[in-house]
Symmetry: C2
């Protein structure tokens, strides 16, 4: 996975474990695509301080993933969900009773929305 995308995803999972300041700066850099200099200017900090904070948070996020594997697990479950939904869609096409098709479609919706 591309590093920038990976950090952006890890932020979704572990952002709440960072401080508000860390989260804001990581968000500006990885999601809003601001440069180090722009963030430094906006936050009255030096470019070096922002660089160090981002580096420290990168490491923190990767340590959290090594310990809890939330991103890895979410990717595996997403794959399982897609596989299951596809199998149910294929099954739905072979069913004859309209009533059964409706049940399958309800279940597919339930899986997609609630798991």
């Amino acid at each position: 996975m591309e590093k920038r995308l990976e950090i952006s995803l890890l932020l979704d999972f572990y952002g709440p474990l960072l401080t508000e300041k860390q989260r804001d700066i990581m968000d500006l850099y990885f999601n809003n695509d601001l440069s180090l200099s722009e963030i430094a200017e906006n936050t009255n900090a030096s470019r070096q301080a922002i660089h160090d904070l981002i580096k420290r948070c990168d490491n923190l996020l990767m340590e959290y993933e090594e310990k809890l594997h939330l991103m890895e697990r979410a990717i595996t479950i997403e794959n399982s969900k897609n596989r299951i939904i596809n199998r149910l869609k294929n099954l739905e096409e072979t069913l004859s009773k309209e009533e059964n098709k409706e049940i399958i479609n309800d279940v597919i919706k339930d899986i997609a929305e609630n798991i």
Copy 2:
């Protein structure tokens, strides 16, 4: 949820974020049911030190849950899974073709094992 069970479940989710020593002592107290005095004796620490460590870890685990909601989310998903599996089991009983019943049973197994 009963406090002891809650902490034991939170340990499953957030144990990797504790230090090895913290995790070991929490495990002895909440999963192996040792008393404070027994743990103190086994680890060459005072009863008060063990008491304080457990209290501190209780708070840490609850802070992690407040931030990441992994236990809350796992309970919600478990309920969704059970609801979906039950609906598929009911549907399977109404199907006429053996082939379709097999597909539904495969999907139920897939959901139970991989989500």
